[in-house]
Amino acid sequence: MRKKETASVKTRRFIANTVVHICLAALAIVWLFPIFWVILTSFRGEKGSYVSSFFPKTYTLDNYKRLFTDTSILNFPQMFMNTLIIACFCAVISTFFILATSYCLSRLRFKMRKPFMNVAMVLGLFPGFMSMVAVYYILKAIGLSEGSMIRVALVLVYTAGSGIGFQISKGFFDTIPKSLDEAAFIDGATKFQVFTKVTLPLSKPTIVYTVLTSFMAPWLDFIFAKVICRADAKYYTVSIGLWKMLEKEYIDSWYTCFAAGAVLVSIPIAILFVCMQNCYVEGMAGAVKG
């Protein structure tokens, strides 16, 4: 009798698991399908933007080669370097801004704290590009819209407002016990020392997350790069380059290169993630004793 019951429980669990797994598999396919297709297209031998078959008829590495050798019309290596430089600066500066803001809002108590958080929340609801024309004119007024200052302008645009995205790391900081801070204060630490010596070492996962999202911003943004770079092709970022490849004049010969470029963009982000991944695992285990 007992045995039978366990058997029916087992089958029931088996059925439930099967259903769940089938659903997950379907979702995974839906998610991964476009990515898979882009990767396939990047190795496609036939030219053109339209194909009648899902799998390419011939495979080649020429699309990647062309991206880095055919630089006369669309200088992809230069765009890639531009974006990489901007992204590195953004990763450092934005991360500092975000973590500092989060720490203040999590640990310090001041009158404007609640109103500030509300205002930040409301401001965050508006799309950033709403202000693009104003941003351009401000940058022009302070002389950042010409020549090599364009890179500075882009770093500025991507980092300056990043503090507003404090919510996630503030939430993380809130979970770190206050008793740790207090212990440090008793030992004579300043607030900044508590931030750098106590809070930050305990919040590696959120630092990784912040660095990654900050690093990604310049790779993904198109609107601000377009508005600020305008006709200065030397300072284009990859997203402008990829967009150009899809224009009427280029799409036929550049479409497969476009896919290759899209694949390449993911590489720096992936490298950064792999490098920082082990920080994710380290939790706060054993932080507070007793």
Partner: protein, 445 residues
């Protein structure tokens, strides 16, 4: 205690504010004279352009005044690539040697003709002195104060070296805005082994015989059918108040024709480059596109590539000539330029027969200078002949009046409805009326 804190806070903010305004003040001071001079030249722009033209006229005989200037020039990136012979820099350097008294430095930027509206419109005062634009953007460029009217000798030059239709394409209310250097339209590429030269004169004969691809849900193309049957856009193309007239019996007849065409298995819609891909693998024998696809079509068909003007369609037993939208690409001068005299002269030079010749040799850009078109080398080029024949005989000037902006989206949607068979031969009359109403409804209102 609290009051003190508030006071100190106020003082601190006051200090910060004064600091900021101080910086702002000095900034404003430095930028102000700049802007005033810019405005000054902008106003003078029109006058000086005429003056400039006059001086260049005299310049041929007498000495030019010495000018030191940095001229910003924007062009598509192909014009600046070494592989394609770096047309822009070559021409600009040549321009420099022709004007020994001018000490010029050129700054090159990238801006495709089709982007001029956005790039120049974003900030005309910081845009290039000389740039290239597609003529359908003229209204927007004028509205953004981004383009100067040409006068004097340059205007005469434009009028003398181009056909009337091309001059019209860069004129608004009789004023010429830019030096045209090429035409822009679409025509037919076909496989010579599939169709004879007689058959390509009629779309019906072609579809009856083999697969034909047409971008029906692209607004730039679909109008050709309606125009064929006597429908008009803005009267003669310039009368904003006249509106678009695609309705009535003549419009319904075209819709019926299109519904029948979509039902024909030999018709294939051209979308996302499927026409070109079909030409490549042989599943499609004719497609409609412009000079930008020439290289790809040539590669696909080789010797068999035929280029022809648009065919005619048979409506109610009568052959009606399809007519494409045509435009031109021209070189414009920024009215905010510090050196309008140099800018106008450069624009004229970049649009001259010599520069067009070079453009054609380096990049296959179809010239539009009437004298250049008569030369043998140009006459022997099938692409040039077809594009110009299309421009001259089977096209209408694409209207660029303000209300034309209402045309694009409804036309595209109507093409889609035709393709998914919401519009059929039975409801053609009703649907055409609805279509016509939407064409004349402003999106902004």
């Amino acid at each position: 205690m609290k009051k003190k804190k508030v006071l100190s806070l106020l003082l601190a903010t006051a200090m910060a504010a004064s600091c900021l305004t101080a910086c702002g003040g000095s900034d404003a001071e430095t930028t102000e004279p700049e802007t005033t001079t810019e405005e000054g030249t902008a106003e003078e722009g029109a006058e000086t352009t005429e003056e400039g033209a006059e001086t260049t006229e005299e310049g041929a005989a007498t000495e030019e005044e010495a000018i030191t200037a940095t001229i910003k020039v924007w062009s598509p990136s192909e014009d600046q690539s070494e592989e394609n012979g770096n047309w822009l820099a070559t021409m600009c350097e040549q321009f420099k040697t022709e004007h020994p008294n001018w000490d010029l430095t050129f700054e090159y930027g990238v801006c495709a003709e089709s982007d001029a509206k956005t790039q120049v419109g974003q900030d005309a005062t910081a845009a290039a002195d000389v740039y290239m634009y597609a003529n359908d953007q003229l209204t927007d460029l004028i509205a953004a104060n981004g383009i100067a009217q040409l006068g004097g000798e340059t205007e005469t030059y434009v009028k003398e070296t181009n056909s009337q239709a091309i001059v019209d394409s860069v004129s608004v209310d009789g004023a010429v805005y830019g030096v045209p250097f090429t035409t822009n339209t679409w025509f037919m590429y076909y496989d010579k082994s599939a169709f004879t030269e007689d058959e390509v004169k009629s779309l019906d004969a072609m579809i009856a015989k083999d697969k034909v691809s047409f971008p029906l849900n692209n607004s730039w193309y679909i109008a050709s059918f309606y125009v064929a049957n006597g429908c008009t856009l803005f009267g003669d193309g310039t009368d904003n108040e006249a509106g678009i007239d695609f309705g009535g019996d003549k419009g319904a007849a075209v819709t019926k024709y299109l519904a029948d065409m979509v039902a024909n298995p030999n018709f294939v819609n051209d979308k996302d480059g499927s026409g070109l891909a079909g030409l490549r693998d042989g599943s499609i024998k004719a497609m409609f596109s412009g000079s930008w696809d020439y290289a790809a079509a040539k590669e696909a068909l080789g010797e068999n590539l035929g280029i022809a003007v648009l065919p005619s369609i048979t409506i109610d037993g009568e052959a009606k000539q399809m007519k494409s939208f045509a435009g031109s690409k021209a070189i414009g001068v920024n009215p905010n330029s510090q050196n309008p005299q140099v800018a106008v002269a450069l624009a004229k030079y970049l649009g001259s027969a010599e520069a067009q010749q070079k453009h054609y040799e380096l990049r296959n850009i179809v010239p539009c200078n009437t004298e250049l078109l008569q030369t043998e080398a140009v006459q022997a080029d099938a692409l040039v002949v077809a594009q110009n024949a299309t421009f001259d005989t089977t096209s209408i000037l694409q209207p660029f009046v303000a209300n034309m902006s209402n045309y694009w989206t409804p036309a595209e949607n109507f093409g889609n409805s035709l393709l998914n068979k919401e519009v059929t031969a039975d409801n053609a009359a009703d649907m055409t009326e609805q279509f016509n109403t939407s064409l004349n409804t402003s999106v902004a209102e």
